[in-house]
């Protein structure tokens, strides 16, 4: 049996979500008696392979992949290349394991839950014709059956999902597992990428606003900005606070429309789903859609002038007051402790 962490490698640094998937793979493997593999796919696959071994993968399957666009430090490939790569790795590795005299081993393929994965997970499942469970927060596997927990109904309900088969795919929500080093001696297998027919599709342009290469799902501290921050003065206060508490800025739907911030920063059911150490909600009322994207945060602190705001129902600490008074005073207090 094998638990395979599928890791798209398009950046200079390995995402922490990839390390979380590796960690979850080692946990599932140790309880099911399986082996951990890392499938590294992308232009930086070779570079990241040693790190995968450091996090418990005894078999490294490395496939360099062509990039369709490279701009401002962000590499992107069209999803079809990744689906073809996963398909090829499954075929090749199964054939290798068969020639070693072993029967085809049951395989659990674990993905992270980034937009990149969401782009390809369904297509991978259809291509391999195997069960897929998306966005799980916990799972168990015995080589045949997989039982996974996944939030549903805008994260208000936990759904227990069952799948069975010799190959099963799951994507794992980011921020829930602490990456845990488990160095092992690994063997590396290298594969040539298949010739992908892109069916006429072209990646024309990558719009990566300067400095906007923040990946919120990776951030330990997130400052969520809602309607309560209404102008440039407020935006400046938030920026100062972010520097002082090492936070990354996220937005609610209100600011998707205001144009004050980049759309990439949207957190919610229709944006990024995050689970940082701290989510500091500034002037966010706490709509169902927004909460679905941040309710798994380890600690939530909310500031809102409306004591009835629904965000206070899930905040560990709620502060009732005017942001435009509180933020300058808080910034002053932080500056004086750090001075």
């Amino acid at each position: 049996m094998r638990v395979c962490a599928v890791i798209p490698c398009f950046q200079e640094e390995l995402r922490s979500s990839a390390l979380e998937v590796l960690t979850k793979a080692t946990i599932v493997a140790s309880s099911s008696g399986g082996r951990v593999e890392a499938w590294l796919v992308g232009p930086t696959a070779e570079k990241h392979s040693s790190k995968a071994a450091q996090y418990g993968a005894a078999t490294l399957r490395v496939m360099e992949l062509e990039v369709d666009s490279e701009a401002k430090g962000v590499n992107v490939s069209l999803g079809r290349r990744i689906v073809d790569a996963v398909d090829e790795l499954m075929t090749q590795s199964t054939a290798e394991l068969a020639t070693e005299g072993a029967p085809q081993p049951p395989s659990l393929l674990l993905f992270d839950n980034t937009e990149l994965t969401k782009d390809v997970l369904g297509a991978c499942g259809a291509r391999l014709d195997v069960p897929v469970i998306a966005d799980v927060v916990d799972l168990s596997w015995d080589g045949h059956q997989c039982i996974a927990q996944r939030p549903t109904y805008a994260s208000k309900v936990m759904s227990k999902v069952h799948a069975e088969g010799s190959v099963i795919l799951c994507s794992i929500r980011a921020g829930l597992f602490e990456p845990d080093e488990k160095p092992v001696k690994a063997t590396t297998h290298r594969y040539k990428s298949p010739q992908t027919d892109l069916l006429g599709q072209v990646l024309k342009e990558l719009v990566a606003p300067e400095g906007d290469t923040v990946d919120l799902t990776e951030a330990p501290i997130i400052i969520g900005v809602g309607r309560g921050i209404a102008d440039e003065t407020g935006k400046d206060l938030v920026a100062k606070l972010a520097t002082l508490i090492r936070g990354e800025i996220a937005i609610s739907r209100a600011h998707f429309e205001s144009g004050m911030y980049s759309h990439t920063l949207l957190v919610g059911q229709s944006g990024k789903v995050v689970a940082p150490r701290l989510y500091l909600a500034l002037g966010i009322s706490g709509s169902i859609q927004h909460v679905a994207g941040m309710s798994e945060s380890h600690t939530i602190i909310a500031i809102n002038k409306d004591p009835e705001a629904p965000i206070f129902d899930l905040a560990d600490l709620g502060i009732v007051g005017d942001l435009y008074q509180i933020l300058p005073a808080l910034i002053h207090a932080l500056e004086s402790t750090q001075a």
Partner: protein
């Protein structure tokens, strides 16, 4: 489609419920499409998950008992209608559901779609994989120039059906669209990625899944609602699709074993008072998180 229009233009058109009974014979006329280009919007009916939720005997009830058009599919339909207005596409909406779902599908016609098909008698507990196989059979028969659909449904938040459908069809796909243009005989899709936006150009036919941040779907006008009653709605049993016998007995590869309320977060502390009190509480809260660097 001419035959279907004839069927709807006589006496029946005043009695739209009768359209329910225009059965599969109309379906085989899809191959006789006019030269109009067609966008097919795949839509789903969901519970109103934004209304209050309660549990009873392991199942979930919502305070609004009326199902709704999945918000993400509503955005997909809105975008298809905008493209239709600018470039003359016909917009056809397909939905898998019970006959009662025709009420929700009728809303899509009221928003402005030209025609709709309801695929009934789906296998029990169909999951994304089953839905994608049924839709693939329909799309292959129907032959649209593009499929536009929501990137996920607002009830399950699974988000797999689009990619599965694209792979079955062997069509190029783009997910999580936040902007769509039609230029030089191709769809230009702006996709929101993890840390950047991508402009991806796909020739026809192609599949696009939409974010619900793409637009604000229009509310049907009274005129639209009246007009929708005269628009063709085909009710097609899934077993009458090509390969239908196998489709109607597909077993889901994933099953939901139970639904339980999400563990509630313990109620936190609510602090009110003067500015000094508030800032003090905040400093203490921020200081308790090592990653902020405040406590150190």
């Amino acid at each position: 489609m001419q035959h279907a229009r004839v069927l709807n233009s006589g006496k029946i058109q005043n009695e739209w419920t009768s359209i329910w009974h225009i059965q599969t014979e109309a379906f085989f006329l899809y191959s006789d499409m006019s030269q109009d280009r067609t966008i097919l919007v795949c839509a789903k009916e969901t519970p109103d998950t934004y209304s209050d939720l309660s549990f009873s005997g392991g199942s979930v009830q919502f305070s609004n008992p009326r199902p709704v058009l999945n918000a993400y599919d509503a955005s997909a339909l809105e975008e298809a209608l905008v493209l239709s207005e600018a470039h003359g596409f016909r917009v056809h909406v397909v939905m898998i559901g019970p006959e009662k779902a025709s009420e929700t599908l009728r809303k899509a016609l009221a928003m402005g779609a030209d025609e709709a098909t309801l695929l009934t008698d789906a296998p029990k507990d169909a999951d994304s994989a089953v839905i994608a196989k049924i839709l693939a059979a329909f799309v292959e028969q129907f032959g649209p120039d593009a499929v536009i659909m929501g990137r996920q449904s607002q009830d399950t938040d699974v988000g797999l059906a689009g990619g599965m459908l694209a792979d079955h069809l062997q069509w190029p796909w783009t997910t999580n669209a936040i902007g769509i243009r039609f230029e030089q005989e191709a769809f230009w899709v702006k996709r929101q990625g993890d840390s950047a936006q991508e402009w991806i150009d796909s020739p026809m036919p192609c599949l696009i899944t939409c974010s619900n941040n793409l637009n604000d779907p229009r509310i049907p006008t009274l005129k639209g609602i009246m007009a929708s009653k005269k628009k063709p709605m085909h009710i097609v049993a899934i077993d009458s699709l090509p390969g239908g016998d196998a489709l109607s007995t597909l077993a889901p590869s994933t099953t939901i074993e139970s639904l339980t309320p999400m563990p509630e977060r313990a109620a936190g502390e609510l602090v009110e008072g003067d500015l000094e009190t508030l800032v003090e509480a905040l400093m203490k809260g921020l200081g308790s998180i090592p990653e902020t660097g405040v406590g150190s």
